[in-house]
């Protein structure tokens, strides 16, 4: 996803990631990938539920992790006023929005300044 950094910067896009990982676990991810983004920890799924994205599927959460469920992996492109321009959801946890999908959405919905 970091390969899209120039495209994000041209459009002034902020990137925010949300997962149920603990802050320490997310820090390790960041150190591994060098991601420039606000990476949020949503242990109690408050943010996930605010977006209505709690996964209702069977065995949603890993056992012993301390979380009760997980979000459905979703990417959202939001405009300057906070409106959702585009959404992508994998119907399977093994598939995620690839960079090319996000790039296409950026080009379609946001003009570079």
């Amino acid at each position: 996803m970091e390969e899209l950094r120039p495209e994000f910067d041209q459009r002034g896009v902020q990137v925010v990631t949300i997962s149920t990982d603990r802050p320490e676990e997310i820090r390790r991810e960041r150190e591994g990938h060098g991601l420039q983004a606000r990476m949020l920890s949503d242990r109690d799924l408050a943010v996930t539920d605010a977006f209505g994205l709690r996964n209702q599927g069977f065995h949603s959460a890993p056992p012993g992790d301390g979380t009760e469920a997980l979000p459905v992996p979703t990417s959202l492109l939001i405009d300057r006023e906070g409106k959702v321009l585009w959404m992508d959801q994998s119907e399977n946890y093994q598939r995620r929005s690839g960079p090319e999908v996000v790039l296409a959405a950026l080009r379609e919905h946001l003009r570079p300044r």
Partner: protein, 143 residues
């Protein structure tokens, strides 16, 4: 004149069938899982999972068939492996299917206000997002 008791010939014949079924079960399970893994490594979950599930269940059926007919060990061991692989994969495929909550956010909606803690332990407020476009990614978690 010596002759083999009929029962024994029938059992041997049956065991031949059973052994073949066991080996066949294993081959089908092995090939199917190899193809499945290859697709996953290309980060390309096949749309038509049903076909894969059918082949896995076929492997299970043949594996069970091997024991119904009776099999030698070199048909039995592959049959057990085939039954294991063939049952396990459809199970994981089934639980990986996802459904969303009753009222998910949709294109055109305004995002809700929210606060959270970031990986540095700093508080985050969604008000800070107003005025710029944002890409929000919900991840499933590190594992």
């Amino acid at each position: 004149m010596s002759s083999m008791p009929e029962g024994r010939t029938a059992r041997d014949g049956s065991k031949k069938v059973g052994t073949i079924l066991g080996l066949l079960a294993f081959v089908i399970a092995a090939v199917t899982i190899a193809l499945w893994i290859r697709q996953i490594n290309q980060v390309d979950i096949p749309e038509n999972r049903t076909l894969f599930v059918c082949f896995f269940l076929l492997a299970v059926a043949l594996g069970i068939g091997a024991f119904v007919f009776g099999t030698r060990w070199f048909g039995g061991v592959p049959a057990v492996i085939a039954i294991f692989i063939g049952s396990f994969l459809p199970f994981t495929i089934a639980i990986s299917r996802q459904e969303v909550a009753a009222n998910p956010i949709r294109v055109g909606d305004s995002i809700p206000s929210f606060t959270a803690v970031d990986d540095q332990g700093k508080r985050f407020d969604s008000d800070s997002l107003y005025g710029t476009p944002v890409l929000i990614k919900f991840f499933r978690a590190h594992w």
